[in-house]
């Protein structure tokens, strides 16, 4: 699964720490998600989308490897 958290973060000029604080998760979680090491729960995905004022579909997209 790919995501555009880093891009959205840059648009808003937020640090990982700031995003983490707003989403009430640890900074390591944000980092792991940006690196594609962790697929968040639906609740966290919805929260992030709301913080970036976008939709989950735009923030997260499936890639080839998800179909294997």
């Amino acid at each position: 699964m790919k995501n555009s958290i880093k891009v959205e973060r840059a648009k808003n000029n937020w640090t990982q720490a700031k995003l983490a604080e707003q989403a009430k998760v640890s900074r390591q979680t944000i980092n792991a998600m940006e690196l594609g090491k962790y697929a968040p729960s639906i609740v966290l995905a919805l929260k992030l989308a709301e913080l970036f004022e976008t939709t989950v579909n735009e923030l997260f997209t499936l890639d080839e490897s998800d179909w294997v």
Partner: protein, 141 residues
């Protein structure tokens, strides 16, 4: 946790059982393998040092293992679960190897230690994963 571990290993090693800890305890099941008193649901004489140490080790390790992190979010929770599964596998691998390669009383000793190692394996693996994460996210701004 550390002191109880220390005394635990020491008493296991030299068979240390101080007199004053010989007290009557309630037992549900006692087939009298070690002692001659064979009876269920009665009081028997027993040295309680190993019981006290066992409880201390388990309770203190549980505190170390399962106390919440500063920020306990879903990702940390996932690592926690993974580490617990990993520790269970490793614990049984060790036990299996011991079954094949260790016999007699040495096996009994390993079994005694094996009761507690699952928590230690968990603590080590969980903290190692957290350490790796912290290191990985340090160089990001």
């Amino acid at each position: 946790m550390i002191p109880s571990l220390f005394i635990g290993f020491y008493s296991l090693y030299v068979n240390y059982e101080p007199e004053f800890l010989n007290i009557k305890v309630f037992t549900m099941w006692n087939d009298g393998l070690m002692e001659s008193n064979k009876a269920n649901f009665t009081l028997i004489e027993n040295n309680v040092l190993n019981e006290i140490l066992g409880i201390l080790i388990i309770v203190s390790s549980m505190f170390v293992a399962f106390s919440r992190q500063e920020i306990e979010d879903e990702f940390i929770e996932k690592i926690r679960l993974e580490s617990l599964v990993w520790a269970t596998y490793l614990n049984y691998v060790v036990l299996l190897l011991a079954m094949i390669f260790v016999y007699d009383l040495s096996f009994f000793t390993i079994m005694t230690i094996n009761m507690f190692t699952i928590l230690f394996f968990f603590i080590i693996r969980f903290n190692w994963e957290l350490f790796k994460l912290k290191k990985a996210s340090k160089n990001e701004e």
